[in-house]
């Protein structure tokens, strides 16, 4: 399968890339890992006249903690997240999610930011970022703006990203001590999209929950945040009753559709069970275990 013809641009700097996007507008698409975009081009679901390949802008490949923020650049590939000792030690929800995305060869190429910008309701990273209360920096030739992950998604494969903007940085509040997380994903086989997945991020504070983030994958028109479940946990001791209640609220927040992967009732129940397990695992990790 061949994509429709396009003109190919391989800028070496971010300014050059932003200049091209500004000039080309809706006729251009940004190409990062290409593991979603290239299949779409081949199937001709998309046929942009121009592709702006950012793979040669080397300074876009960074994962670093600076000024109380974990910063992730647009060229960070799933593989880098999978292997990051920083993420493994303090950002469990990310470290859990990374090896569950697609398959190892796709992870060598696909990027976190690209996956987020693609906004597949079955994508994993958006959910993880919702749980982490991330900010997304959207940069254009004329400047940059920052939006919350929860304000970024606007529907299936839709975001507030403008054609002249690049998702230039993902910003996550630096994990404090007593932070734990987990990502639980049900898939029919390796490489399949999630039937259901749940992201949990917990910040404990003196034996009580300081803040809780819970994101849901593949059970709505976009990655969802289980806000009522999150709110139910804040300031409380994380006992079995609190966990069970939050899990029920998360299940209620899900908006699953029946398909070949399962019925509405089944998926909702998986959300409940995974939220419960995820909270327990996150809590254990926040206390220095697991």
């Amino acid at each position: 399968m061949l994509p429709a013809p396009f003109e190919y641009h391989a800028p070496k700097t971010m300014d050059e890339a932003l200049g091209l996007l500004d000039e080309l507008g809706e006729d251009a698409k940004v190409l990062a890992g290409g593991q979603s975009l290239i299949p779409l081009l081949k199937l001709r679901f998309a046929s942009p006249a121009h592709l702006v390949d950012i793979n040669r802008i080397k300074e876009l490949d960074f994962i670093e903690e600076r000024d109380g923020i974990l910063r992730i650049g647009p060229l960070v590939r799933h593989k880098a997240a999978e292997r990051s000792s920083l993420l493994a030690s303090r950002y469990h929800v990310m470290a859990d999610a990374a090896p569950q995305i697609a398959d190892p060869i796709i992870r060598n190429r696909g990027t976190i930011a690209g996956s987020v910008a693609h906004a597949d309701p079955s994508g994993d990273w958006g959910t993880v970022l919702l749980a982490l209360d991330a900010d997304l920096v959207l940069r254009s030739k004329s400047g940059s703006r920052t939006v919350k992950a929860r304000d970024f998604f606007s529907g299936p494969f839709s975001t507030v990203l403008q054609p002249n903007e690049i998702l230039s940085e993902i910003r996550i509040p630096a994990a404090k001590p007593q932070t734990g997380g987990a990502y639980l994903k049900l898939e029919r086989k390796v490489g399949d999209f999630a039937t259901v997945a749940v992201a949990v991020h917990l910040q404990m504070d003196d034996g009580k929950v300081g803040s809780a983030g819970i994101g849901l994958t593949a059970v709505g028109p976009q990655n969802l945040e289980a806000e009522k479940a999150e709110a139910s946990l804040e300031g409380v001791r994380l006992d079995d009753a609190a966990i069970k209640q939050a899990a029920v609220l998360a299940a209620e927040a899900a908006e699953p559709k029946a398909d070949q992967r399962g019925s509405v009732e089944y998926k909702r129940n998986v959300v409940r069970v995974f939220t419960e397990r995820g909270l327990k695992r996150a809590y254990e990790r926040a206390r220095g275990g697991g």
């Binding site: 399968m1 061949l2 994509p3 429709a4 013809p5 396009f6 003109e7 190919y8 391989a10 290409g34 593991q35 290239i38 299949p39 081009l41 081949k42 592709l51 390949d53 793979n55 697609a102 398959d103 190892p104 060869i105 796709i106 060598n108 190429r109 390796v190 490489g191």
Partner: protein, 169 residues
């Protein structure tokens, strides 16, 4: 229309003018006439088209040839240097790691990348590493055996570092 690119393919610099939409796998098979790299699903699932780009396995049906400009490409043809089978090829043969052979080029290149990183992989490491390469004949058991056997062979053989370097250069 054509865009000039130069790719180091199995140690040899190859230049061509390509249309930007030309997929890397078509460049390999049709422009370079290296037909050891197979096209299976053409939808990023099966891994039959796996090649190494700067040493890393990628699905060549899901990349454009222009993106490989200036980089090192390793295809299955690089394995048997000077007419001698690579230990991985020898092990796939000995352990019956293939039946129809369609997935085998991708399977072997993924295995090569694994063994360069982990000289003594567990069954689990191997199964995890090849989870992006689909085989519809073997049931994977003999592939795992073959990769283990190749690992042992490569570790034992003092000549291996040189052979691997030749593949990469």
């Amino acid at each position: 229309m054509g865009q000039p690119i130069t790719v180091t393919v199995n140690g040899e610099k190859r230049s061509a003018e390509v249309e930007p939409r030309l997929l890397l796998v078509h460049f390999i098979r049709e422009t370079l006439r290296l037909t050891g790299t197979h096209i299976g699903c053409d939808t990023t699932h099966c891994g039959a088209c796996t090649v190494l780009l700067d040493g890393t396995p990628v699905k060549s049906c899901t990349m454009f040839a222009v993106q490989a400009d200036g980089q090192q490409l390793t295809t299955v043809e690089a394995l048997a240097a000077g007419g001698t089978l690579h230990p991985i090829q020898e092990a796939f043969k000995q352990e019956h790691g293939l039946q129809c052979g369609f997935c085998t080029p991708g399977m072997m290149l993924t295995s090569l990348a694994l063994l360069e990183e982990k000289t003594d992989p567990t069954d689990d490491d191997i199964r995890w590493a090849i989870s992006g390469n689909i085989c519809r004949c073997t049931g994977y058991m003999n592939i795992v055996k073959a990769v283990k056997s190749a690992a042992a062979q490569m570790k034992a053989s003092a000549a291996v570092p040189a052979a691997t370097a030749a593949v990469r250069s």
